[in-house]
C-alpha cells in the first residue's frame, strides 16, 4: 500500500529552489503579530518533485472510477461523463469569469443559467427552478424550507412530513433539519406506498410528503395520482426526491404527476461527474404558486437583459454562495442540449432496458426482492437465500472487488433483507452487462462450493477486508509523526 506523503522523503529535501531574496531579510515576528505565529514547526512533507510526482501518480492508479470500470452503484446513476462537456466547461470564457463581474459583462453566462432553468422546467413539468443547491440533500433541505415558508405564509405552520419506509436516508434528515417531525409510511406487499396507510397518516398537521418515483426498489408508484390527491386534499405539498429521474427524463414529468416541488441531481441524471469527481448540483423546481419562495437571487430578464434579482420579499434567502456550482451547470446544459428531448427519452428507455436485462440474467441465481413485473432503471435483489451457506450480501459485494467491479449499493433500502441494489445506467454495453452477470453468477457458485473464499474477500485489492467495526468505534483520521 502507498505510504502517506508525510511518511516519505527526507528531512530538508524539497521540490524547488527559490531565488535569492531581493529584499532585506526579516524575522516573521517583525511583521506578523506574535499571537498569530505558530509555536511548532509545520509538519510539511519534505520530498523532491520526482518523489511527489511518483506518489500521486501511484495513488491515481489505485483510483477506481466510471472511467476505468463498471460502477453499478444503485440509486447513484454512475453514468459516463462525456468529455466534450468537461472541455466546454473549462473554456476560459466560462472558467475565467469572476462572480463579482458586472452583469453587463456576463450576459452569456446568465443566459446559459436561465436557459438551463427553462430546460429543467420543461423536463420536470415545473414552472420555476433555482440552480443554487449544491447537491441532492441540499435540494431537499431547500425544498423543505420552501414548503415551510409556504405554510407559514398561510398562517398554518404544519408539523409533520410523511416519508415512505423505502426512502433515501437523506429525506428524513432534511425534514428533521427543517424542524419537522418525520412520520414513516409503510410500503405495501408490492413495494409501493400502501394507500390505506397513507390515508391514515395524512391529515391537517402534515406539511409535506416526500416521495421518490420510481422508488428505491426501482418500482414506479403507479398510484401517484391517487397519492397526490390524498396529499393535496389535506392541504399538504408533494415533494419529489428526483434521485431516480434517470428513469423518467424525457418520458414522464413530475409536475404532471402532481408533485409541487422537486429536486434533480445534475451529477446523476445529467451526466456530470459524481463523488470524488464532484462537486454536485441539486437544482430545485416548483409550481408557480411556490415560485416566490425560491432562494434569492433569481435570474430574470429585465429590459432585454439578464439580471440576478435579489428583490424577492418572500424568498427563503440564499442557500449557496453566488449562483451554485456553475461549472456543473455548464456541463449539464451541454448534456441536455447535445441529447435533446428525444435523446433524453432514449437514455431513459435504455437505462430501464439495461436494468431489466441484467435483472433477467441474474434471476435464477439471485432472488429479486420484487418480481413479476419489469423494473425501472434499477432493481433490488435479496441475498437472504445465501445466508444458510454462511455468505452475506457484504461478502458478495467484497468478492466483486476481486473481479474488478465496484460493489453495488448494499443493505439499502432497509425494508429488503440483505439488499443488493443494482443500477447499470444506459451508458453500459451488452458485453459489459454480460460480463458482470457472469461474475455475479460465478460468485453464487463459489458461495456454494467454497464459502470461505467469498467471506474472506477481497483478495486482490491493495487493502484487504477492512475492520469496519474498529474503523467506526476507534475512528482515527489523523497522522502523527512518531516521536514528535
Amino acid at each position: 500500500m502507498e505510504k502517506l506523503i508525510f511518511e516519505t522523503g527526507s528531512e530538508g529535501r524539497n521540490g524547488c529552489s527559490l531565488p535569492k531574496l531581493d529584499v532585506p531579510d526579516a524575522a516573521e515576528s517583525s511583521f506578523i503579530p506574535g499571537n498569530l505565529l505558530r509555536r511548532k514547526e509545520a509538519l510539511l512533507p519534505e520530498v523532491s518533485e520526482l518523489d511527489c510526482i511518483r506518489h500521486f501518480t501511484r495513488l491515481s492508479r489505485l483510483n477506481y472510477s466510471v472511467d476505468t470500470n463498471f460502477y453499478p452503484l444503485g440509486s447513484c446513476t454512475m453514468k459516463y461523463n462525456p468529455r466534450i462537456n468537461e472541455k466546454i466547461a473549462s473554456l476560459p470564457q466560462f472558467s475565467a469569469l469572476h462572480p463579482y463581474q458586472p452583469e453587463s459583462s456576463v450576459q452569456g453566462m446568465l443566459k446559459l443559467l436561465y436557459d438551463t432553468e427553462q430546460m429543467l422546467c420543461r423536463i420536470c413539468g415545473m414552472d420555476a427552478f433555482t440552480l443554487q443547491p449544491a447537491a441532492g440533500a441540499h435540494g431537499e433541505l431547500t425544498g423543505m424550507l420552501i414548503a415551510r415558508a409556504y405554510h407559514v405564509s398561510k398562517g398554518d405552520p404544519r408539523k409533520k412530513v410523511l416519508i415512505p419506509d423505502s426512502a433515501h436516508g437523506t429525506n428524513p434528515a432534511s425534514a428533521a433539519l427543517c424542524g419537522y417531525e418525520v412520520v414513516t409510511v409503510k410500503s405495501g406487499p408490492d413495494g409501493r406506498i400502501d394507500i390505506g396507510a397513507l390515508k391514515d397518516a395524512a391529515g391537517q398537521d402534515v406539511a409535506v410528503m416526500m416521495l421518490t418515483n420510481p422508488n428505491t426498489l426501482g418500482l414506479f408508484e403507479k398510484d401517484i395520482k391517487k397519492i397526490a390527491d390524498i396529499i393535496h386534499g389535506s392541504g399538504a405539498l408533494l415533494y419529489l426526491d428526483g434521485a431516480n429521474m434517470n428513469a423518467l427524463a424525457g418520458v414522464s414529468r413530475p409536475g404532471d404527476m402532481g408533485f409541487d416541488i422537486c429536486h434533480v441531481n445534475l451529477h446523476k441524471t445529467f451526466s456530470t461527474p459524481h463523488g470524488g469527481g464532484g462537486p454536485g448540483s441539486g437544482p430545485v423546481g416548483v409550481k408557480a404558486a411556490l415560485a416566490d419562495y425560491l432562494p434569492a437571487p433569481r435570474i430574470k430578464i429585465k429590459r432585454n437583459k439578464f439580471t440576478l434579482d435579489s428583490d424577492c420579499k418572500k424568498s427563503i434567502g440564499k442557500v449557496k454562495a453566488f449562483y451554485g456550482n456553475i461549472g456543473v451547470v455548464i456541463k449539464a446544459y451541454c448534456y441536455i442540449r447535445s441529447l435533446g428531448g428525444e435523446g433524453l427519452r432514449d437514455a431513459a428507455f435504455e437505462a430501464v432496458l439495461n436494468a431489466n436485462y441484467l435483472k433477467a440474467k441474474l434471476r435464477g441465481n439471485y432472488t429479486p426482492a420484487f418480481d413479476g413485473e419489469p423494473c425501472m432503471h434499477e432493481f433490488v435483489l435479496t441475498g437472504k437465500d445465501k445466508k444458510p451457506m454462511g455468505v452475506r450480501t457484504l461478502d458478495i459485494a467484497k468478492r466483486l472487488l476481486d473481479y474488478g467491479y465496484y460493489a453495488p449499493t448494499i443493505y439499502f433500502p432497509l425494508i429488503v433483507e440483505e439488499a443488493i441494489m443494482i443500477e447499470p445506467t444506459e451508458t453500459e454495453s451488452k458485453q459489459t452487462l454480460d460480463a458482470f452477470a457472469d461474475v455475479m453468477i460465478k460468485i453464487t457458485g463459489e458461495a456454494a462450493s467454497d464459502p470461505s473464499l467469498v467471506t474472506s474477500a477481497p483478495h486482490t485489492t491493495p487493502v484487504r477486508r477492512l475492520d469496519e467495526v474498529a474503523a467506526a468505534r476507534e475512528l482515527n483520521l489523523r497522522w502523527k509523526k512518531t516521536g514528535a
Binding site: 436516508g169 457484504l394 443493505y411 439499502f412 432497509l414 469496519e468 467495526v469 467506526a472 468505534r473
Partner: protein, 129 residues
C-alpha cells in the same frame, strides 16, 4: 443471565422486562445478529416522555442506523450509559448488560399487545418482520 421466558417482545424487535411499574428495554438477540456489529447508540434523556411505538433511541451498526421504538408509553427514568460508551455490549449481552433504558410505565395494559418469547420466535420464523 436474564430469563428470556419472562420478557415481552415487540414486532420491531425490542424486549421489555417488567419490574413493578418499571419496564426495562433493549433489543433482541435476533435483532443484534441481524444488524451486526453495533458501533453507536443514542439513548433518550432521562425524563423524556416516550409513547408506545414512538422512536426512543437510535442504534447504528456497520450496516445502517435503526430506530428503537418504545414498547410501552411512559417517562424514561434510567438510561444505560454503558452501551453508549461501549456499544459492543449490545452484541455481547443483548438481554442483560446491553439494556438501553428504563421507563416508568404509564399504562400496564399496554403490555397486552406484546408477544411472549414463543410467539416472537414464531414471528421471526414466519418472516413477516
Amino acid at each position: 443471565m436474564a430469563d428470556t421466558g419472562k420478557l415481552l417482545f415487540a414486532k420491531t424487535h425490542e424486549w421489555l422486562r417488567v419490574e413493578g411499574n418499571i419496564g426495562y428495554v433493549g433489543i433482541t438477540d435476533h435483532a443484534q445478529k441481524e444488524i451486526t456489529d453495533v458501533v453507536f447508540v443514542e439513548l433518550p434523556k432521562v425524563g423524556k416522555e416516550v409513547s408506545k411505538e414512538g422512536e426512543a433511541a437510535v442504534v447504528e451498526s456497520v450496516k445502517a442506523a435503526f430506530s428503537i421504538y418504545a414498547p410501552v408509553s411512559g417517562r424514561v427514568i434510567k438510561a444505560n450509559d454503558a452501551v453508549e460508551k461501549d456499544p459492543s455490549i449490545v452484541n455481547k449481552s443483548p438481554y442483560d448488560d446491553g439494556w438501553f433504558f428504563a421507563i416508568e410505565m404509564k399504562d400496564p395494559e399496554e403490555t397486552a399487545s406484546l408477544m411472549s418469547l414463543k410467539d416472537y420466535e414464531e414471528f421471526i420464523k414466519s418472516g413477516a418482520h
